[in-house]
C-alpha cells in the first residue's frame, strides 16, 4: 500500500514537472519580455542592460537549469511586473479561485443530480425533454455571453445582484452560475445515462419486488451505483473549472488565478505564468487523487478488493 502511495506521488511529481517544462519552453518560444518592459523610445543599450539584469541573455539550457533548481527550493523567481515572489502572488489569489470553483461545482451538482435522475426516471416525458434542453443550453451557451447577459439582466435592468467584485455571498452568485453552467450540463447528462443504465440491473428489479418505495430504491441503491461515473466526470471537470475561471474571473472582476494568468501572459511575466500553471496542475492532480478516494467511499467493493 505504501508502494501505491509512493507511486501515485511520483506520478504526480512527474506530471507537475512535465507541465512546468512544457510551460517553460512555450513561454521562451513566444518571445522576449524585455521589449515589452521598456518605454517606447528606449535606447538599445538600455534594453540590453535590462535583458542582462533579468537573465534573458543566458542560453536556454542555463535558464532551464536555474528554473529547475529554483523549483526544488519552491522558488519560482520574482514577478517581473510586481517585483515580488511569483509563488506568493499566485497563492494569495488561489483562495478566490477555489471559492468560486467550489461554489460553481456545488451549484452545478445541486442542479445536475436531481435533473439527471428525474430525466432518467421520467423517460420519454416532458421532464426528460426539459432536462435535456437545460443541459443542452448549459453546454451550448458560451460563458462570456452568459456572464454578460446575467449582468445586463440582474445587475443593470433589475438591480438584484452586484455586477462585479467580491465582498458578500451576493457577489458570488452570478460568477458561480456562469462558471458552473458547463459542469452542470455535463454532470446532468452523465447522471441521466448512469441512472438509466442502473435501472435495467437485476438489483433494482429485486428491490422493486421486495416492495421498497421507488424513492428509497433511487436514494439507497441506485444513486450509489450511478455515482462512480459521475464522480469521474466531475473530477476531470475541475480542469474545465480552472480553465473557465479565466473567462469568468475576467468578466466579473474576480480576483483569482484565472485573471492573474491572463494579465501575466499579456505582460510576458514568465515567473507568474509558470507559478500559476504549476499551482493549477497541483490542484488538478490533487482533485483526481480526491476522486480516487471518493471511489472508495462510495463503493465498498473498491475498499475490500
Amino acid at each position: 500500500m505504501l508502494r501505491f502511495v509512493a507511486r501515485r506521488t511520483l506520478q504526480a511529481v512527474l506530471v507537475v514537472w512535465g507541465v512546468s517544462t512544457v510551460v517553460f519552453l512555450l513561454l521562451r518560444l513566444s518571445g522576449d519580455p524585455t521589449l515589452l518592459m521598456v518605454p517606447p523610445g528606449a535606447p538599445a543599450e538600455a534594453i540590453d542592460r535590462l535583458r542582462h539584469q533579468l537573465g534573458f541573455d543566458q542560453p536556454l539550457p542555463v535558464q532551464y537549469v536555474q528554473f529547475l533548481v529554483g523549483l526544488l527550493r519552491a522558488d519560482l523567481g520574482d514577478s517581473l511586473v510586481q517585483s515580488r515572489p511569483a509563488l506568493a502572488i499566485v497563492l494569495e489569489r488561489l483562495p478566490a479561485t477555489l471559492l468560486l470553483g467550489g461554489a460553481a461545482l456545488l451549484l452545478a451538482l445541486v442542479v445536475a443530480l436531481p435533473l439527471g435522475v428525474a430525466s432518467a426516471l421520467y423517460r420519454d416525458t416532458w421532464v426528460e425533454r426539459g432536462g435535456l434542453l437545460v443541459a443542452l443550453l448549459g453546454q451550448a451557451i458560451p460563458p462570456f455571453w452568459l456572464g454578460l447577459m446575467l449582468i445586463l439582466l440582474l445587475s443593470v435592468r433589475t438591480p438584484l445582484l452586484p455586477s462585479s467584485g467580491t465582498g458578500s455571498w451576493q457577489h458570488l452568485v452570478l460568477p458561480a452560475v456562469t462558471l458552473g453552467s458547463l459542469t452542470m450540463a455535463g454532470a446532468a447528462r452523465m447522471t441521466r445515462v448512469a441512472v438509466l443504465e442502473q435501472l435495467g440491473q437485476d438489483y433494482v428489479r429485486t428491490a422493486r419486488a421486495k416492495g421498497i418505495a421507488p424513492l428509497g430504491i433511487v436514494v439507497r441503491h441506485l444513486l450509489r451505483n450511478a455515482a462512480i461515473p459521475v464522480v469521474t466526470i466531475v473530477a476531470i471537470d475541475v480542469a474545465n473549472l480552472l480553465g473557465g475561471a479565466v473567462v469568468t474571473e475576467t468578466i466579473f472582476a474576480w480576483p483569482g488565478i484565472g485573471r492573474l494568468v491572463i494579465d501575466a501572459i499579456s505582460a510576458r511575466d514568465y515567473p507568474v505564468v509558470q507559478a500559476t500553471v504549476l499551482v493549477g496542475s497541483v490542484v488538478f492532480v490533487l482533485s483526481s487523487l480526491a476522486a480516487d478516494v471518493a471511489y472508495g467511499l462510495i463503493d465498498p467493493r473498491v475498499r475490500t478488493r
Binding site: M37, V38, P43, E92, P159, S164, P255
Partner: protein
C-alpha cells in the same frame, strides 16, 4: 487493492487539511500600517456622511513603488499617494509647480529647483531635498533595475544645495528634463531605508492628497483623504480603485451605480452611456498619434518614394475616424499633436486623392498595382489595419497583413536589417508632450525604432535636443517635420481620444496626459 482502502480512510483527514490550509491564506489583503499611526488622515467633511468615490480601472495595481512601476493602473493610483516634483495644468497641459515652487537653468546642463518647506509625509516626516535626491538616485541605481531608468538616464547627478534646494546635473543639455520630472513621484528616504524598499510597495507612505488604506490584490485599492494636505483638504473622503478587466463590465458597473467613474472605454460604449441620463462621457484628446509608418530603408516597394506617395494619397483618415472610431479622434497634420512642444500648426500635410495615388504608382512603373507587407500585432486595433488595407486595395495596392505577437513585432521592427515589411500602423505616446520623445526615436538615424535616415533631419533633431532655447527648438522641429513630409517617412493621421464614463453629477474633466488625480474631482452642486 488494499492500498485504495488506506487512501479512502484518510480521505476526510486530507480534506480537513485542505480546508485548514485554505482558511489560513484567505486574507490576502495588506493591512495599512498608516491606519493606526497616520496622524494626518482624519476624514474632514463636517457632519454629512463621508463622501466616497469608486473608480473602475482596466487593470490591477502591480506595485505602489513609483521607481518600479511600468503599468498604467499603478501609475494612475500611486500618483494620488505621492507628490510629484512638477505638475501639469489640468486645462492647458503647461508645466507648473508642485513640490518644486520655482526652477531655473544654472547652465546648459544644470537646473536648480526650489522646494516647498511645508510638505509632510503621511507619517509626519518632513519632505526635504534629501527625499528628492533619493527618489531620483534609486532609479539611476543599476542594482534597483528600475523600468523608469530610460526616462531619467540623462541625469548625471542630483546635488543638495540646502534642505529646500536641489540641483540636477544632466550629461548633456536636455530640454525635456522638466517634462520628465512631471513623472517623478517623491518617495520618503527615511521610511524607505528604515522599512526596506518592499514597504514602499506593501505599505506606501507619500505626501500626496490621499493615504494608502488597503490593497485587496487583484481586486481593489482603498485610499483615504490626507486631512493635512498642503494644497487643501481633498473633496472625497475615501476613494476605491477597482480592477475590472472586462470593458462591458465596467460599463455595467457605471449603469448599475457600482462605479462613479470608469477608464479606458471605447467609441462603441459612447452611444450606450450617452443614452443613460444618470451618466456622462468625459473625453479628452491624448498625446498619442495614430500613424502609418513606412520602411524607407527596406528593400521592399515602400523604399520607393512614389509608392509611399500612393499609400498616403489612398488613405482617407476622416472616413476611418467616422466609421471605426465613431468620430472619437481629432485629425492631425503631422506626427505631433497640438499639445506637443515642437508642434507646427502650418506643417504641410497629406490629403486623400485616389487619382493622385494611381498616378504615383504609374510613375513608379507599377500602374498594374503592387503588393506591400503590412506588419501588425493583435495589440493594435485590427479594424483600422483592415480598413487601411481596404482603402489601399481601392487604388490597386495589395496590402498583405502579417500578424505577429507583440514581442516578435518589436523585435522585427527594431532589427537593424529593416526587413520587417513595408508599412505598419501604430499609436505613439511618449508621456512627455515633446517632439523629442516622438520624432527623435521614430526617425533619427540609428534609433532602433527608425527605418528612415536623412542627415538634414538628424542635424535638426540633434540640434533641438542640444539646446534649452525654446524658439530655436521650435524652428528646428519645423524643419524636421517638413523633411519628414517631403520624404514621406510616415503619415500622422489623428490624435487618439481617451474615453471615460462617469456619473452625471461628477465634476471632473480628463486631461491630455490621462491622469486620474482624485484631488481634482468633486460632485456638482
Amino acid at each position: 487493492m488494499a492500498s485504495r482502502s488506506i487512501l479512502a480512510r484518510r480521505g476526510p483527514a486530507f480534506v480537513a487539511v485542505l480546508v485548514l490550509a485554505l482558511a489560513a491564506c484567505t486574507s490576502a489583503a495588506t493591512p495599512a500600517p498608516g491606519a493606526a499611526v497616520a496622524p494626518t488622515g482624519a476624514p474632514t467633511s463636517t457632519g454629512a456622511a463621508p463622501r466616497s468615490l469608486t473608480i473602475d480601472l482596466g487593470d490591477d495595481v502591480a506595485t505602489f513603488d513609483p521607481g518600479l512601476q511600468y503599468n498604467t493602473a499603478s501609475y494612475s493610483v500611486y500618483r494620488n499617494i505621492f507628490d510629484q516634483l512638477l505638475g501639469r495644468d489640468a486645462n492647458t497641459g503647461q508645466i507648473g509647480p508642485r513640490i518644486a515652487t520655482s526652477w531655473k537653468p544654472v547652465s546648459q546642463t544644470e537646473w536648480e529647483f526650489a522646494l516647498r518647506k511645508d510638505v509632510k509625509f503621511h507619517n509626519g516626516d518632513p519632505l526635504t531635498a534629501e527625499d528628492v535626491k533619493f527618489s531620483i538616485d534609486r532609479i539611476l541605481d543599476p542594482a534597483f533595475k528600475s523600468p523608469q531608468y530610460q526616462n531619467f538616464s540623462t541625469i548625471a547627478e542630483v546635488r543638495i544645495a540646502d534642505p529646500a534646494t536641489v540641483r540636477i546635473v544632466t550629461k548633456s543639455p536636455y530640454p525635456v528634463l522638466l517634462a520628465q520630472l512631471v513623472n517623478l513621484s517623491i518617495v520618503p528616504v527615511k521610511y524607505t531605508k528604515e522599512k526596506g524598499a518592499a514597504a514602499l510597495n506593501t505599505a506606501p507612505i507619500g505626501s500626496g492628497p490621499y493615504r494608502f488604506v488597503e490593497w485587496k490584490k487583484g481586486e481593489s485599492v482603498s485610499l483615504a483623504a490626507n486631512g493635512s494636505y498642503w494644497r487643501g483638504t481633498p473633496y472625497f473622503d475615501t476613494v476605491k480603485f477597482r480592477a475590472v478587466p472586462e470593458r462591458a463590465t465596467r460599463v455595467a458597473d457605471l449603469r448599475s451605480g457600482t462605479a462613479d467613474l470608469a477608464a479606458t472605454l471605447t467609441a462603441d460604449d459612447v452611444k450606450q452611456l450617452s443614452a443613460d441620463p444618470k451618466l456622462r462621457v468625459p473625453t479628452a484628446n491624448t498625446e498619442a498619434v495614430a500613424h502609418v509608418y513606412f520602411n524607407v530603408l527596406g528593400k521592399s516597394p515602400a523604399a520607393k518614394r512614389e509608392v509611399r506617395e500612393a499609400v498616403a494619397a489612398a488613405i482617407d483618415p476622416k472616413k476611418l475616424i467616422d466609421a471605426l472610431l465613431g468620430g472619437q479622434a481629432a485629425p492631425v497634420r503631422e506626427m505631433l499633436t497640438p499639445v506637443h512642444v515642437g508642434y507646427d500648426a502650418n506643417a504641410p500635410t497629406f490629403s486623400y486623392d485616389p487619382q493622385k495615388a494611381k498616378e504615383a504608382l504609374a510613375r513608379a512603373g507599377l500602374a498594374s498595382g503592387t503588393t506591400l507587407t503590412f506588419l501588425t500585432s493583435p495589440s493594435f486595433d485590427q479594424r483600422i489595419v483592415q480598413a487601411i488595407q481596404g482603402q489601399l486595395e481601392a487604388v490597386g495596392i495589395t496590402a498583405k497583413i502579417e500578424t505577429v505577437d507583440k514581442p516578435t513585432y518589436l523585435k522585427k521592427i527594431q532589427g537593424p536589417e529593416h526587413d520587417w515589411g513595408d508599412i505598419r500602423y501604430g499609436e505613439w505616446s511618449c508621456s512627455c508632450l515633446d517632439a523629442d520623445g516622438v520624432i527623435y526615436p521614430l526617425f533619427r538615424t540609428g534609433s532602433i525604432w527608425s527605418s528612415y535616415s536623412n542627415p538634414a533631419f538628424d542635424a535638426a533633431v540633434d540640434g533641438a535636443r542640444g539646446t534649452l532655447d525654446e524658439s530655436k527648438r521650435q524652428a528646428l522641429y519645423g524643419t524636421a517635420l517638413r523633411l519628414l513630409h517631403d520624404d514621406i517617412a510616415a503619415y500622422g493621421m489623428w490624435q487618439t481620444r481617451a474615453i471615460y464614463g462617469a456619473r452625471a453629477t461628477l465634476d471632473w474633466q480628463p486631461t491630455v496626459d490621462e491622469q486620474l488625480f482624485v484631488f481634482d474631482m468633486k460632485n456638482k452642486p
